[in-house]
Symmetry: C2
Subunit: 218 residues, 2 copies
């Protein structure tokens, strides 16, 4: 169907469209893909010819319907494999990404259908991100950043914005896990750090941390 490279570009564009709903720029994609702008232009031309993106020279681009469907199916594979790695192969949530980046390109409908069934049709991956179903449907949780909560508000930790291994390891060290309930005890106006109650203990976290934790308010 598509090359690994094409699939990686589609996935990257998908993620960037969150940040740039009006359209993604060549430079933004080059940075995301860790490549040069000229390489991006070449690839975008190719994706455009294949009707995967809508593109007008110098005007940025967006995924087409077909491109969106393809990107979502890659993300579905990626996240299903992440669940497999954590639930069945004892990987921790900071170890799954690298391997899932490879596994997401395996081409077999039967494989993914059966993997989904084998895992019990999971709805979220180990980082709390939604897993699209076979039709590409998925529900985005109504969530806010911890840094947006005010004193006295409470909620459940349901996802991370930064899913880098270092950040996830930091959360492990602090015993912060998906599903934990928490409450804002106090917010320091000077540096925006917050004192939270979580798992029966009080914890102070900086703005850098609270800006990367998604909370579902209760």
């Amino acid at each position: 169907m598509f090359t690994f490279s094409e699939e990686n570009y589609l996935k990257a564009i998908f993620h960037l469209e969150r940040k740039f709903p009006a359209g993604v720029s060549t430079n933004a994609l080059a940075e995301e893909m860790e490549t040069k702008a000229s390489s991006v232009t070449d690839m975008i031309k190719k994706l455009s010819e294949k009707k995967l993106v809508n593109y007008k020279k110098y005007q940025g681009f967006k995924l087409s319907k077909l491109g969106m469907e393809t990107a979502v199916s890659i993300i579905r594979k990626h996240r299903l494999w992440e669940v497999f790695l954590v639930e069945k192969l004892n990987f921790s949530w900071d170890e799954v990404h690298e391997v899932a980046e490879q596994l997401e390109h395996i081409k077999s409908e039967q494989l993914i259908r059966e993997l989904d069934r084998f895992l019990g049709f999971p709805k979220r991956d180990p980082h709390g991100d939604p897993i699209p179903d076979a039709e590409g449907n998925f529900t985005v949780l109504n969530k806010v950043l911890l840094s947006d909560l005010k004193k006295g508000e409470s909620g459940i930790f349901v996802g991370v914005k930064d899913s880098s291994a270092t950040f996830l390891q930091f959360l492990d060290k602090r015993n912060i896990a998906l599903g934990d309930e928490l409450k804002i005890i106090e917010k320091e106006p000077f540096d925006q750090s917050v004192l939270i109650k979580i798992n029966e203990q009080e914890l102070r976290v900086s703005n850098l941390i609270s800006g990367n934790l998604y909370i579902k308010t209760t």
Copy 2:
């Protein structure tokens, strides 16, 4: 480490060394890889520079120690994935090959180590072929072809020489499965076909069939 293409060549050479223990020829490898002799020459030069094969121009080639270890580790991955597909994802033994061809190239020691454990350290894949352990060791069963058995001899069906989907589907249709006991009732000298007793019933199989079934004599 190595590219998909390099890994596929190494695997193909490994298999051909069974048939040509003295060394593999360019043409033989080209046929196996479904490519042209000139492409093979180019790749062999590359593998030779990387110390994966021993090669002298016009003289054929063999895997080096490093090449052999690499090939065995790819085969280990391939066969472990085949077990996974059959045991966990409801694939039948004629459906696994294509997907395993893709999965065998995933690079992660942790993944394979954990997959092996998850599957209970299987010793054979769904076709009866041995699965190398993490050190690359595996035991080849002492087996003969059904076509080499004489009237009155008996044994257990332990493997297939031809593992094509069509042959495997044929065996399914005849209800012949790995582990079945069988006995030669009669052998027709004219066309070498044999009448066997298997699963409480008598079955006549042609030389083409009996020449592709591995039997462990009892």
